[in-house]
């Protein structure tokens, strides 16, 4: 790693402590804080931009807020609705109505789990077909009741299991993409960690697609790509570079509308600050979209995705 992120993070924490103390006590501590802020700034510049692999590491950092961590901070009244009404209930892809900073929405959440037990239960956010089919059902409800959809994307990909294949994993993803494209309500998607392949896109078809500063989004995970290219998953850092999978890359490619800033060092270092930024960005796009007609929303979303791709024409 270039620079010394640990030193940087520690200094940043001290700055925040002092700022908090100043606010609590009413004392003016600027004389102490100012030199620290300058040192933080110097270290930030010295460390240079993060490498793509470093960002992937941040997207997977222990303690990085999960979808439900954002919901806990930003939403009220969340009512999880379970089941696809056909086969099962998938804990890796959950959802239901809630108020997003006061606005009634339908949430679709790829939820990785917060500890070992829930991570296993939720298959680390890798959904089975019934997860995507539940998502379709919730989208049907959103459409019926005029609720905007907010999707928080965070998965390494759909679950590659034998039973998932038996029950039509590809079919379920395709159906979810199709349903999301046909919605006549606003859809805002935010990639909040990992955006792995079709399993992510299945709930990533938004009028606006946002991505957190240190999240990634790609057709394949760096490890998967490394396995294919070099037959060696440990070459993932190289693959990450090649795949141009970071938030700034995706903004350049026109895949996302906006990069949501994270606290220095990553969202896990200050979940409150991370949540505030996610809440504000999603809320702002929601507000803009809610001014559009149902027809505009559907057409606009379709046009957005119809236009994506890079080619020349002779």
């Amino acid at each position: 790693m270039t620079g010394s992120p640990e030193a940087l993070r520690e200094l940043e924490a001290r700055v925040r402590d002092l700022e908090a103390t100043a606010e609590r006590t009413g004392q003016n501590l600027d004389a102490s804080i100012s030199p620290l802020r300058q040192e933080v700034q110097r270290l930030r510049e010295a460390s240079g931009p993060l490498s793509r692999w470093e960002r992937v590491q941040l997207a997977r950092a222990p303690g990085r807020p999960t979808a439900l961590d954002y919901v806990d901070r930003l939403c009220t009244g969340f009512t999880e609705l379970h089941g696809d009404r056909r086969f099962g209930d998938d804990p890796a892809l959950i959802g239901g109505p809630a108020r997003w900073m006061g606005v009634p929405v339908m949430l679709l959440l790829q939820q990785k789990g917060r500890d070992t037990k829930t991570k296993i239960k939720r298959r680390f956010g890798s959904a089975n077909p019934e997860g995507y089919r539940k998502a379709v059902r919730l989208m049907d409800l959103a459409e019926k009741f005029g609720l905007p959809v907010v999707a928080l994307v965070d998965t390494q990909g759909a679950y590659p299991g034998l039973e998932a294949e038996e029950r039509g994993q590809g079919w379920a993803i395709a159906e979810s993409i199709r349903r999301m494209l046909s919605l006549r309500v606003p859809v805002v998607c935010a990639v909040i960690g990992e955006g792995g392949s079709g399993g992510a896109l299945a709930v990533g078809v938004g009028n606006r697609v946002l991505i957190q500063e240190n999240a990634w989004y790609s057709v394949i995970s760096p490890e998967g790509a490394a396995s294919i290219i070099w037959k060696d998953a440990s070459k993932a850092p190289l693959a990450a570079e090649a795949l141009k999978l970071t938030a700034p890359d995706l903004l350049d490619l026109g895949i996302v509308e906006e990069v949501i800033p994270e606290p220095t060092g990553g969202a896990h270092l200050n979940p409150e600050e991370a949540a505030a930024a996610v809440g504000e960005a999603v809320g702002r796009h929601l507000a803009e979209l809610m001014a559009q007609s149902p027809q505009e929303l559907k057409k606009g979303r379709a046009a957005r995705f119809r236009a994506l791709g890079a080619f020349t024409e002779t």
């Binding site: 759909a158 679950y159 590659p160 299991g161 034998l162 998932a164 294949e165 038996e166 029950r167 039509g168 994993q169 590809g170 079919w171 993803i173 395709a174 159906e175 993409i177 199709r178 494209l181 046909s182 392949s197 079709g198 896109l201 299945a202 078809v205 989004y217 790609s218 057709v219 394949i220 998967g224 790509a225 294919i228 290219i229 070099w230 190289l238 693959a239 090649a242 795949l243 141009k244 999978l245 890359d249 995706l250 490619l253 895949i255 379709a302 995705f305 119809r306 994506l308 791709g309 890079a310 080619f311 020349t312 024409e313 002779t314």
Partner: protein, 284 residues
């Protein structure tokens, strides 16, 4: 009767050459050597064991459409290296090699033609081009074919053969899954049928997008069809995969495809089906 007609139509048009290897093809399944002329007249199905050999895009057009009816639509859209992708080799070099090998700009051939006199729009993936991987060009050409069909009021047939989305275009490839769906929705809104024909192999992003939202999904016998590849699944579950897993017949049992149709029966099957769905009488 259908088969009979097929044989009559498919008389080989090339003369046997002097070069012996050109005369024979070894069946990948039963390992028998088959006269090329026998393969050609049998829709590239092994006469000994029934194995459906993989087809190039041009061969597929020949097998499906009325002779001489095909007019290509594609060929103008060409891939670019938007990510400056480089692994063991530059993407641009890979593209050049695949283009030289197949004579196509990318892994797709689209066009219009007739099937037992029924006008259709056809898109065929070419597995020989980079494993039929879907990048921006495949997505764009599939989308244009769907829009052409909508505009011209014809059914759409798509023959898939793909290892999935193209890694070298990363998120741009991924987005083709949504893009093609947009175009197919345009077709659906026009009330026109879309039939996909899944050939060996069809996996990854293609399975999770346009291949499986068809009105009717036909699979070729024995074709491998799935989202995750068998190797990845085996790594996940750490146990042996059952015999026939992810094969066309397995998917039929699991309710995922409408029918498994022998390649030699596909023309009459499709003509009848499209006739029913469009209320247009194919002249049989």
């Amino acid at each position: 009767m259908a088969l009979d007609r097929f044989f009559r139509r498919r008389r080989p048009q090339q003369q046997p050459g002097a070069d012996v290897p050109e005369l024979w093809t070894q069946c990948p399944q039963c390992k028998e050597s088959i006269y090329n002329r026998d393969l050609l007249s049998n829709a590239y199905v092994c006469p000994k064991c029934g194995h459906h050999l993989r087809l190039g895009a041009a061969q597929r057009v020949d097998v499906l459409l009325d002779e001489g009816s095909f007019t290509p639509l594609s060929g103008k859209v060409r891939p670019v290296d938007a990510l400056n992708f480089h692994d063991t080799e530059a993407y641009t070099d890979r593209l050049r090699r695949a283009q030289a090998k197949t004579g196509r700009p990318d892994a797709i051939l689209t066009g219009s033609g007739t099937l037992l006199n029924l006008p259709v729009t056809l898109a065929v993936m070419d597995f020989a081009f980079s494993g039929g991987s879907m990048g921006s060009v495949v997505g764009e050409e599939i989308s244009r074919a769907a829009e052409f069909a909508a505009e011209h009021g014809t059914p759409l047939l798509i023959v898939t053969a793909s290892g999935g989305a193209r890694m070298q275009e990363s998120a741009l490839s991924l987005m083709q899954m949504a893009k093609t769906t947009v175009a197919l929705e345009t077709l659906a809104e026009a009330g026109l049928p879309y039939v996909s024909i899944l050939s060996d192999p069809t996996t990854g992003g293609v399975t999770a997008s346009f291949a499986t939202i068809a009105d009717v999904i036909v699979a070729e016998p024995g074709a491998l069809i799935g989202f995750a590849g068998p190797r990845v699944i085996q790594q996940t579950i750490r146990q042996h995969l059952p015999e026939g897993f992810q094969r066309a017949e397995f998917l039929l049992d699991h309710g995922m495809v409408d029918a498994v149709v022998d390649r030699r029966e596909q023309r009459p099957y499709l003509a009848n089906l499209l006739g029913l769905l469009t209320k247009y009488e194919a002249s049989a």
